[in-house]
């Protein structure tokens, strides 16, 4: 197995039924928890499959170490799609390596839940979470928020001329100037494709295509095409734009008036875990203000209302009400169909 559960059989704390959250203060980074929980905290090891950025992992690793000094946290990091592909093979092989899963695509959790692979756990921070969560089975809960928005290159487009809505991108004004992310490569793009097609019908994509919109690959390569000025406008993740903007690249963000697409990426515990206590503790930690700060540092929005928005972003509350609605169950059932349809439309000239 992929190491995730190898050390867990000798879990001394498996008998304890109350797990104190490692950092409850929310002000300093886990300073108090380190002293109080050293002896009784979860131990063994735990494997997290995730699609969060490696920078964030690097950032939180020391914190987790401080919070759970006896616990060895291991990471497998990759794009959502790679993680889920790996999971698929592991499920087939009957040997899931992950104890904890944090990937972007909420519909995947629906799928896992339907297959009865997720453990039900209501975190003590569950109620603090302000977005989509499994309020019936407590199989998963949102842990970070990504948003699909419009970005534009400020060298080429003046702020007042920038498109205000997704709809507007089919306007001849943007002919040959729009680049979008490929939903077959990116789960968040799949969500936005689904949401837009639900809202405007597939004609929307036909119009986009006829207007010369181009698929730029995954989020990062699409980002590059926007940054370098190959395209003026992109439909892309907010976090990508925030990151490069901070680096000094000439881009800016539009929160489309016809609805930002909000993707609340969940966290969930696999039923097959051998170290449930640790998994639960880590979930709690992620949902704590401490964990959420790390999320924000990674340019995503927190699921908690008491944590600030990332630098340079509008607060979630300002666009959440107008956001596009996504039926995750429906998407989980129809994702293949959505991709096919998209390819069929965009793959022909």
């Amino acid at each position: 197995g992929c190491g995730g559960s190898s050390g867990s059989s000798s879990n001394p704390s498996s008998g304890s039924n109350t797990t104190t959250p490692p950092a409850t203060s929310g002000q300093s980074s886990g300073s108090t928890s380190g002293q109080t929980q050293t002896a009784s905290g979860p131990s063994g090891s735990i494997m997290i499959y995730t699609s969060i950025y490696p920078d964030i992992i690097n950032l939180v690793s020391p914190e987790l170490e401080k919070a759970f000094p006896n616990l060895k946290v291991e990471w497998f990091q990759g794009g959502t799609e790679q993680v889920t592909a790996k999971m698929a093979a592991e499920i087939e092989a009957g040997k899931i390596g992950a104890d904890l899963l944090m990937v972007a695509d909420p519909s995947y959790y629906v799928y896992l839940k339907n297959r009865d692979l997720l453990m039900s756990y209501k975190s003590e921070n569950f109620d603090a979470v302000a977005v989509d969560k499994d309020t019936e089975g407590y199989a998963y809960t949102g842990v970070r928020i990504s948003n699909v928005v419009i970005g534009y290159n400020t060298n080429l487009v003046k702020p007042e001329e920038a498109p205000k809505t997704f709809r507007e991108l089919t306007d001849p004004k943007w002919k040959d100037q729009v680049v979008i992310v490929d939903p077959t490569l990116s789960g968040t793009a799949l969500v936005s494709t689904y949401a837009l097609s639900e809202k405007y019908g597939w004609e929307y994509f036909e119009q986009l295509r006829d207007n010369g919109a181009v698929i730029g690959g995954g989020n990062s390569s699409t980002e590059t095409k926007l940054v370098t000025g190959e395209f003026k406008v992109a439909v892309i993740l907010e976090e990508n734009l925030l990151k490069v903007k901070d680096r000094g690249e000439p881009v800016d963000i539009v929160y489309p008036e016809d609805g930002v697409i909000i993707v609340p990426s969940p966290i969930g515990i696999l039923k097959t875990t051998q170290n449930a206590e640790a998994a639960k503790a880590v979930v709690d930690w992620w949902l704590s203000p401490e964990g959420q700060k790390a999320i924000v540092t990674g340019w995503m929005h927190s699921v908690r209302t008491d944590v600030e928005s990332p630098k340079g972003a509008q607060p979630l509350a300002s666009f959440a009400p107008g956001a596009m609605k996504v039926n995750w169950e429906d998407l989980a059932a129809r994702s293949g169909e959505v991709k096919d349809k998209f390819v069929e439309i965009m793959g022909t000239k």
Binding site: A88, A93, Y111, T184, L185, I215, T224, G229, E249, V343
Partner: protein
């Protein structure tokens, strides 16, 4: 027939067993699963996948892109290989190395590089051209097209044919060509009637590798094809795999089967064509190696070759270097926008060196194992009369034709302990993955070289009392040596920067450079990815120089 427990049979049997266990078994698991729906045999997955219009279109695009790339690669390789292999072209050792440097760049990074160079709007090349010819408004080069994609594919995959053809030409007995000259044929005629037909195994080997490699490639088609709206089989397969469900995995496998079929068809055709003739161009009577003197053509050809090298190798590397040096990509390449920060941060990053080391170990192991097993499988096919001798070759081609992502899934299925062997999550799964995926490169190179060697050279060793193992080590391997080195390199390089499988199979204990590259390009910045790939390139070139120096010129690219 009594079964002989001789070294030859044992070695070959071992090689075949390794191939079966590590290559065929995982694929078979997946393919068999693809036939099972709800616990029953069913063709539903296949029906599902092959009635889909986009998929059929993708199959056609794959055939077209692979076929064109194969044609152009061969057409480019032969003259270049001939120039470095058989003429007195000055600087040919430099050219020989330079011309294959694109192969040392990860294809998807190279695709980015060509995007920077030749995207119709702000590609460096197009900007320069427009500076000279202002009447172009856009373009004129559009890399995001079938032509553009084939161009990039050719640049990255033609080293397969270049290496095998140039080795074959060097090893060829010159008196065979001389006999044609004396019959009255001019040099071009000799090329057509003698040289090309006699190097047919090498040409076919190269062409086949190019075809299969392109058909199963993902990086370039996804980056260039995506924007050009060209779907190929691998991009379709990825889209199935990325659904993330078991069912989709089976559909992906069902679709991958078309690649297996395509590759069998091509291999079968090449076997059929080659079987009609004999190609012993290295026999027991040595003749003097003669180089064609280019005379007045010498310097013009040097110029042409230099230009080709510039376009193939220097340009994309330049694009990468330029990209890596800018402060903000939005402002492009300008003197007040330059910085060494990206270089500094990548070089200072501990992960860079750690992952490079892991990749070095795993790819050296994969390449060495692949070369050995490949040589044995090729030997079985070419030099023995055993029944079913061509089958392992077909199987190795299977593992090569299976897209990395599918193969990785198969390896997870097969080696996570369910069947007794638990490699998943260790360093060894990487070695196995690289080995299996690239094995057929070594098989093809070795087979083409072995076709040239007259049996009497081996028989002489046997009659000297050499056991087969000795003979293999002392005579066979040295005779096909340069091709073996070429094959090793062909396996080593893509293993070193392998990405698709690495991303699924790495573990925190063994993280290869391919993963780091992926991470840099998708989470950090394309600039740092460019730095890392240029770094890989430099390291490989230094390695080559060291090898050449240590072996006094006998072992090098």
């Amino acid at each position: 027939m009594r079964f002989n427990f001789d070294a030859k049979s044992v070695a070959i049997a071992l090689a075949v067993a390794v191939l079966l266990v590590f290559g065929i078994f995982p694929i078979a698991l997946l393919v068999i699963d693809a036939f099972i729906v709800d616990g029953h045999f069913s063709l539903d997955n296949f029906r599902e996948v092959y009635v889909n219009k986009s998929n059929l279109m993708a199959v056609w695009n794959t055939v077209k892109a692979s076929g064109l790339t194969m044609l152009f690669s061969t057409a480019i390789s032969f003259p270049l290989a001939w120039l470095v292999g058989r003429t007195d072209l000055p600087f040919k050792n430099v050219f020989r190395t330079l011309i294959i440097t694109p192969y040392m760049i990860p294809p998807f990074i190279g695709a980015f590089a060509w995007g920077y160079l030749a995207n119709p709007r702000i590609g460096y090349l197009n900007q320069w051209i427009r500076a000279v010819f202002p009447f172009f408004e856009q373009g004129p080069i559009n890399i995001y097209s079938m032509n553009g994609m084939v161009w990039v594919l050719v640049l990255f995959y033609f080293p397969f044919s270049f290496l095998s053809i140039s080795r074959a030409l060097e090893k060829m007995d010159p008196s065979l060509e001389e006999a044609a000259r004396i019959s009255g044929a001019g040099p071009l005629r000799v090329l057509r009637n003698i040289t090309i037909p006699l190097t047919a195994p090498a040409i076919a080997a190269g062409a086949l590798l190019v075809f299969v490699a392109v058909a199963s490639a993902f990086g370039i088609p996804s980056i260039i094809g995506g924007q050009a709206r060209i779907q190929v089989v691998t991009t379709r397969i990825i889209s199935y795999v990325y659904v993330g469900t078991t069912e989709a995995m089976h559909e992906a496998t069902a679709l991958a089967v078309v690649l297996l079929m395509l590759s069998i068809a091509v291999l079968w055709f090449s076997n059929w064509y080659l079987a009609k003739r004999e190609y012993f161009t290295l026999a027991g009577k040595s003749t003097r190696p003669t180089l064609v003197e280019l005379g007045p053509w010498k310097w013009p050809l040097v110029a042409v070759f230099a230009i080709v090298c510039f376009v193939f190798a220097i340009l994309p590397i330049m694009a990468l270097v330029m990209t890596s040096l800018v402060k903000t990509m939005g402002r492009g390449f300008a003197f007040d926008n330059l910085t060494l920060d990206v270089w500094r941060s990548v070089l200072a990053d501990d992960a860079t060196w750690r992952t490079l080391r892991t990749s070095l170990y795993s790819s050296v192991l994969a390449a060495t194992g692949g070369t050995l097993v490949g040589l044995l499988i090729a030997y079985l096919k070419v030099k023995t009369r055993m029944r079913f001798r061509t089958i392992p070759d077909f199987l190795a081609t299977f593992t090569n034709a299976t897209p990395g992502i599918v193969l990785a899934l198969g390896l997870i299925l097969a080696f996570s302990g369910k069947f007794g062997l638990n490699l998943y999550g260790t360093f060894w799964i990487l070695v196995v993955a690289y080995f299996v995926r690239h094995l057929s490169y070594a098989v093809r190179q070795a087979a083409a070289a072995l076709e040239q060697v007259h049996p009497s050279l081996e028989e002489a060793a046997l009659s000297s009392g050499a056991s087969w193992l000795r003979l293999f080590k002392d005579v066979t391997i040295p005779l096909v040596g340069p091709s073996v080195v070429g094959g090793w390199f062909l396996v080593f390089m893509p293993s070193f920067y392998e990405l698709t499988m690495s991303v699924l199979l790495y573990s925190s204990k063994a993280t290869p450079a391919g993963y780091h590259l992926y991470h840099l390009s998708s989470y950090a910045s394309p600039q740092s990815a460019a730095v890392l790939s240029v770094l890989i390139l430099i390291l490989v070139l230094i390695g080559n120089l060291l090898m050449r120096w240590a072996s006094r010129g006998r072992v090098s690219l």
